[in-house]
């Protein structure tokens, strides 16, 4: 079928199925799935400027659905999300500026590609190792806590999160929903700024960085981190989508078709989080950024980039 805005021929069924798979990933892991949707749209023949913009607006639609599901499950910390939005937007602008700077040196593909490979691989390796350690600790302590809750969260790097939470920089706030008694706003802004930077620099929502950072550095329970990250992505990806749409980089028809699949996938993914403990969700998430790293490496070293 011909899409007149981006001028590409794509089977809408393929777009729907792609959206479904990405929706499941988003609902379950709290990530936008841009490391999968971007390369897929590119391989379907869409120009790269449309890939970035279209993916962003599709992420907004998908995250609305998934975030509403997580809200019903009580997985969104609105106070945390409100603080994170500030850091994300500023970080995103810095990332975009860095891209513009690299464009002037003509090395944007190489630098961004190598950064993506390092970041994705590092996130995967660290995530797999940490969640494996956490899972072993969980196994030692028994399958359920005193309340019979099998979803209890264990962190192998609990001490790092505690250190981050104890930073004495004012103002310090309480995150009741996340079970954090006191934490400096600056710790939250720093984490969201880093996420925002990589969102602007590498594209997509950068949930693959922000979600683990919320868990490991801020000490947010995994289920709350997933839900809050999705909510925050609505704001940050929405901002990016509007900027790209103004520059003519958004094919809303492709995004709408993809989103129909993603809407169903997101509901399914969010419901699936009920059946897995935090370490298992993080362990299952671990290979996904590595998949993105492999795709980027293949594109970087085998194509004409």
């Amino acid at each position: 079928m011909f899409f007149p805005i981006s001028g590409v021929h794509i089977d809408p069924l393929v777009l729907g199925i792609l959206g479904l798979v990405i929706g499941i990933l988003g609902g379950f892991f709290g990530v936008g799935g841009s490391f999968l949707s971007g390369p897929s749209l590119f391989s379907l023949g869409m120009p790269y400027n449309f890939v970035v913009g279209t993916d962003l607006i599709h992420i907004v639609g998908k995250s609305i659905v998934a975030a509403r599901q997580h809200r019903m499950l009580g997985n969104i910390d609105l106070k945390l999300a409100a603080v994170m939005v500030i850091g994300t937007l500023v970080g995103s602008e810095t990332g975009v500026d860095a891209i513009e700077g690299l464009k002037r040196f003509g090395e944007v593909n190489l630098v961004v590609g190598l950064t993506a490979i390092v970041m994705f691989t590092g996130t995967s390796v660290f995530g797999a190792w940490e969640s494996w350690q956490s899972w072993r600790a969980l196994k030692k302590s028994g399958p359920a806590d005193a309340d019979g809750n099998e979803k209890k969260d264990v962190l192998a790097f609990d001490r790092i999160a505690k250190l981050f939470q104890s930073l004495p920089l004012p103002p310090r706030i309480e995150l009741r929903q996340s079970g954090v008694a006191r934490i400096s706003i600056w710790s939250i802004v720093l984490v969201s700024y880093i996420g925002g930077f990589f969102s602007g620099f590498l594209g997509g929502g950068a949930g693959y960085i922000r979600m683990p950072a919320m868990v490991y550095l801020l000490g947010i329970p995994t289920h709350i981190a997933v839900g809050t990250d999705l909510f925050e992505i609505i704001i940050s990806a929405g901002y990016g989508a509007i900027r790209h749409a103004m520059n003519g980089n958004v094919d809303i028809l492709v995004a709408l078709v993809m989103h129909t699949g993603a809407a169903v996938g997101a509901q399914l993914g969010a419901r699936l989080t009920q059946y897995f403990s935090g370490p298992w969700i993080r362990l299952a998430f671990a290979p996904l950024p590595l998949l993105g790293a492999i795709m980027v490496a293949v594109a970087l070293f085998t194509h004409h980039h």
């Binding site: 079928m1 607006i57 609305i64 028809l253 995004a255 129909t260 699949g261």
Partner: protein, 80 residues
């Protein structure tokens, strides 16, 4: 409340089947009736295109979510 995995998969299967029919009808509607209008806006009135794109995406997200929730409720009620 947590439901058994087999039950969840059965419900999801039914929901997906109903969804496939709705999605095909929706593809036809969006691509056939909105396609040329949105393409026209994209080329001639970029600001209106941006506003329309965001509103349609948010509207579709909320509308589909409500539809799927209602569908899920009906499937579960029908099974009881």
């Amino acid at each position: 409340m947590k439901e058994p995995v087999q039950k969840l998969l059965r419900y999801v299967g039914i929901e997906l089947a109903v969804y496939a029919v709705l999605a095909i009808a929706y593809f036809y509607f969006v691509l056939r009736f909105l396609g040329s209008w949105l393409a026209g806006l994209f080329h001639e009135h970029r600001t209106y295109y941006v506003v329309a794109a965001v509103l349609i995406m948010v509207g579709q997200a909320i509308g589909l979510e409500r539809l799927l929730t209602a569908l899920s409720y009906l499937v579960r009620r029908g099974k009881k």
